[in-house]
């Protein structure tokens, strides 16, 4: 028995050496033969980081892979077949940089990113966060507008932290309302999570109390208007001494606001408290894990100390550059890790491949976000989902043509969104969003009648049918994968392609099903 126990952990590695099954031609669809170029100081920090982990600089992802990846990352959508063809034909050496600029300034950028920030800000109408519908939409519009204008994030979050007034007329106050627990302790937890990227539950009690006292004078009251609520602050009557999370003491004078003192601490470019939290969280939104290897909002203490060197640099640049969120996203998608191959390096063992994935030397695969997948299927089928809600009142009806990523209210959901892990927005942690694949999800994709009806429309909507065989296949591959089929794939398809007219039609349906159910489609890779 003993030798089996010893052998077992080794067995999978012996049976499935990473990357052994694929030939070089298959790999070339997804990666270039050259290593990813190192262009910026950030890239060089990563190269040093990888060297310290005994990892080589990874290969660069193929053009088609970068095209699809950056569309999903910045716009939360796939490129259209026309966009894909134009990009793949383009021979300009800076075509990727040009594409990034276009995407950063298109309306899909604030639409997609308001979804991620709304997750972190817990925007939902009901239980356990009772914002109520009118306040949800006011708050979401504020966020969407701010991201559209690329308002510096420190300015946005200072507004949120210091808000007072009505949940309908001063939407920033909803930041302090979006809490399941509105005691000073509960508020301090939420704010530490959002602004510091820390879970204060793990702090010593004394430190938790110190932070709590910054929120002890916040009050809420109802008005005669239905579901209106006012957030206000009791003014200080005497000087009060408080302790900041870094241990320094500050005095708040009579008439002052304790929250402002905390804002000065969090947004000071020299301290990089908010900068470290934002950089780490945003990185995890792009890569599925934070720069520190954690979930993206689990720094042990406020500030950049726990981040590896590349993270420290990114945080400093972000703070000194005026908390420019678009610029942060630009830096991330232009970085070497973002442009790296999604394939495990050849002839390495599992341990090595795992280490490469954890340190961003191999682009980590992540199943598409629930809302993004819903949007993608809606676009492919020409039949987007419609959302509405009657509880709590007033009723909300979302126009069908509005993207699902713009669904403001976390309480409005569907079976599909729930199944694919849309976050409940209960606590605002990054981990609430669940991108793990499950048997139920695969079952749905295999077999759902709702999906069958939608998929049946794809060949018609995208005018696949009227074309000759190879062009039909190219069209479908561009639609689903943003690339052309390889000669081997064309051959496989040719062999399966039936002779009769009706069979051809059924085959196109089969193929749409196959492409939709494939790894290449379902993952950001």
């Amino acid at each position: 028995m003993r030798f089996i126990a010893v052998l077992l952990p080794v067995l999978p590695a012996l049976l499935f050496p990473a990357g052994a099954a694929a030939g070089e031609t298959e790999r070339s669809l997804f990666e270039k033969e050259t290593p990813v170029p190192l262009r910026t100081p950030l890239d060089h920090r990563f190269a040093e980081f990888w060297r310290s982990q005994s990892l080589p600089v990874p290969r660069e992802a193929a053009d088609a892979v970068q095209l699809r990846r950056v569309h999903l990352a910045l716009a939360g959508r796939l490129p259209t077949p026309e966009e894909a063809e134009a990009y793949l034909r383009d021979t300009a050496p800076d075509k990727y940089e040009n594409l990034v600029e276009r995407l950063l300034h298109a309306p899909d950028f604030p639409a997609f990113w308001s979804m991620k920030w709304a997750d972190a800000l817990r925007i939902k109408s009901e239980f356990p966060i009772n914002l109520w519908p009118n306040a949800v939409y006011a708050y979401h519009r504020l966020l969407h507008r701010s991201l559209s204008r690329n308002e510096p994030l420190d300015r946005l979050f200072r507004r949120l932290l210091l808000g007072t007034g009505s949940n309908f007329r001063d939407p920033e106050v909803n930041f302090l309302r979006a809490a399941a627990d509105r005691t000073p302790r509960g508020l301090s937890r939420n704010i530490a999570l959002t602004l510091f990227g820390c879970r204060t539950e793990q702090w010593p009690e004394q430190d938790q109390q110190a932070l709590e006292s910054f929120f002890s004078r916040i009050r809420y009251k109802k008005t005669w208007e239905w579901k209106e609520e006012i957030v206000f602050v009791l003014p200080e009557t005497a000087p009060v001494s408080l302790t900041l999370p870094d241990g320094t003491s500050v005095t708040v004078r009579p008439g002052g606001d304790r929250r402002a003192t905390l804002a000065d601490y969090a947004f000071a470019p020299a301290r990089q408290v908010f900068a470290a939290a934002t950089v780490n969280r945003t990185w995890s939104w792009f890569f599925g894990r934070g720069l520190n290897g954690g979930s993206g909002d689990d720094l042990p203490r406020p500030g950049p100390e726990a981040l590896p060197e590349p993270g420290k640099l990114l945080a400093r640049e972000f703070a000194e550059g005026g908390y420019d969120f678009r610029e942060l996203c630009r830096r991330i998608v232009l970085s070497a890790p973002f442009r790296a191959s999604p394939l495990p390096a050849e002839d390495v063992d599992r341990e090595h491949a795992g280490r490469a994935e954890r340190t961003f030397a191999q682009f980590p695969l992540r199943r598409l976000d629930a809302e993004v997948l819903d949007d993608v299927i809606g676009t492919l089928s020409g039949n987007p989902s419609a959302y509405s809600s009657v509880i709590p009142e007033p009723f909300s009806f979302i126009p069908k043509q509005e993207r699902t990523v713009l669904l403001a209210d976390g309480s409005i959901s569907s079976r599909f969104l729930g199944l694919f892990g849309r976050p409940s927005r209960d606590d605002g942690t990054v981990a609430e969003r669940n991108n793990r694949i499950s048997a139920e999800q695969r079952l749905y994709l295999f077999n759902s009648g709702e999906l069958y009806r939608k998929m049946g429309r794809i060949p018609g909507v995208w005018k696949v049918r009227g074309r000759a065989f190879p062009a039909q296949m190219e069209r479908l591959y561009l639609l689903f994968y943003s690339r052309y089929p390889s000669p081997e794939e064309q051959q496989t398809l040719r062999r399966a392609y039936p002779a009769g007219g009706k069979e051809k039609w059924l085959f196109l349906q089969d193929l749409c099903w196959v492409l939709l159910n494939s790894k290449e489609f379902l993952y950001q890779h």
């Binding site: 495990p344 994935e357 695969r442």
Partner: protein
């Protein structure tokens, strides 16, 4: 964690100076003095009849024929097959089986809102505190999953979700319920994702799976990536359901016509029948979400139709499971999130309505180690106040857990590393020991 491990952990915490974490929590549940669990946990499956909206205690299991008409609406109680137990005249069929179930007439909690009350009744916890706890269905699905060999998910809801309520809480997504959708009383009960929508022969399906494999260029190139292994694993179970027999459990045409009619040819009745088929398939937890019991207006008119189909379906389920020898290993619990106000509101716009009332309401339990023919608790002459033996939601949940062989005071394993017991530790005293069969 056994007791020795716990003491060790305690010692470790003490040295770390974190003993405050446990302060204020009675240790008795862990360190001796624990109430004896049932002698032999025998429940393999649980059927929860969730009467959404709040069923009236007076028109179900706690009738008050002696109270004024403003309370009982002029409706009577009828005897059952157990001397001394009477239930509402709305449930004549169920009255013939009182020896197989027991009634709790003193369920009580303080929350008159649907969401909060549902959360408490389902999780045993008050909302707030930043964590969303899993509902009993997900918890039992998780504990029972180890010995469950079926292809269907371990938790199935017929036919619509409870709504606005995350059943799975912080547990792994795999314990979230499969919500069937569809209508079991229709010609064909289409469970989206499970029962193929039609038009595809097994041969055509196989062709699709073949092509999927042959065209998996990316999968071959990226072989070795851990995430893709999960993807393949998830596909194996799903494909088994698509191509195998699992969908047959939803094919009610396989039941004799007389059996279907015994449950009633309504969505509710056929949901009950499907629940019995799911129990036979070994599914550990099944919820039937009954709709339309939030009777603020015209309560008695609604009761006439709602209670009739409920009576028929519940009586059929209990007797059918009993005849098949499955009642002994299957718990049925029938409850709403609360009851309804004892005093009837006759004025417009209510026109004889009852509102939300959590302070004293009724619940039925049967099978799986619960004795039949008993009544727990006594309410006052209006079914408004608990007179003796209050039963809390935690008492109810804790009893079901114990009969399923789950220690309610033990650790609730969870992926976020929270150190919490299955139920709040202070809840141990009130479990329904008087109903446990020896």
């Amino acid at each position: 964690m056994n007791r020795r491990d716990f003491l060790k952990t305690c010692a470790a915490f003490t040295t770390l100076g974190a003993v405050a974490h446990f302060a204020g929590r009675p240790l008795s549940a862990w360190a001796g003095g624990k109430i004896a669990p049932p002698p032999r946990p025998r429940a393999k499956s649980v059927i929860e009849v969730w009467v959404w909206g709040g069923p009236s205690q007076l028109e179900t299991f706690d009738p008050k024929p002696g109270a004024p008409r403003d309370y009982n609406g002029g409706f009577k109680a009828i005897p059952t097959n157990v001397p001394g137990i009477e239930i509402s005249e709305f449930f004549p069929l169920l009255a013939q089986h009182a020896d197989k179930y027991s009634l709790i007439r003193t369920m009580t909690h303080p929350h008159p809102g649907h969401e909060t009350a549902t959360y408490l009744m389902q999780t045993g916890r008050n909302p707030g505190g930043g964590q969303v706890f899993p509902a009993i269905g997900a918890v039992i699905a998780m504990f029972k999953a180890e010995n469950y060999r079926g292809d269907l998910p371990p938790y199935v809801i017929l036919t619509v979700p409870k709504g606005r309520f995350s059943e799975v809480g912080f547990l792994n997504e795999r314990y979230s319920p499969l919500v069937t959708g569809g209508n079991p009383a229709a010609e064909k009960f289409i469970v989206d994702g499970i029962v193929p929508p039609g038009g595809l022969s097994p041969e055509a399906l196989r062709k699709r799976f073949d092509l999927l494999e042959r065209l998996d260029t990316f999968g071959r190139a990226a072989a070795g990536v851990e995430e893709l292994k999960h993807f393949d694993d998830a596909g194996i179970g799903a494909r088994r359901i698509v191509e195998g027999d699992a969908a047959k459990v939803f094919d009610l045409a396989l039941e004799p016509r007389t059996m279907r009619e015994r449950y009633g040819m309504t969505t509710l009745g056929q949901s009950f029948l499907t629940a019995r088929r799911l129990v036979e398939a070994g599914v550990p937890y099944i919820t039937i979400n009954a709709q339309g019991w939030d009777t603020h207006k015209r309560h008695f008119e609604t009761m006439k139709t709602k209670a009739a189909e409920m009576d028929k379906a519940t009586a059929a389920l209990i007797s059918d499971l009993h005849e098949r020898g499955l009642l002994d290993s299957t718990i049925i619990w029938w409850t709403g999130e609360f009851g309804r106000t004892p005093k009837v509101d006759w004025d417009a716009p209510w026109n004889g309505g009852r509102n939300h009332y959590p302070h004293c309401f009724s619940c039925l339990v049967a099978g799986g180690g619960f004795a039949g023919g008993k009544v727990v608790g006594e309410s006052d002459e209006y079914a408004a106040k608990v007179v003796s033996r209050p039963v809390s939601p935690q008492d109810m949940l804790g009893s079901i857990y114990e009969l399923c062989g789950i220690d309610p005071d033990g650790k609730l394993p969870n992926p976020i590393g929270l150190d919490v017991p299955v139920l709040p530790p202070e809840s141990a005293a009130g479990r329904l020991r008087e109903l446990y069969r020896s």
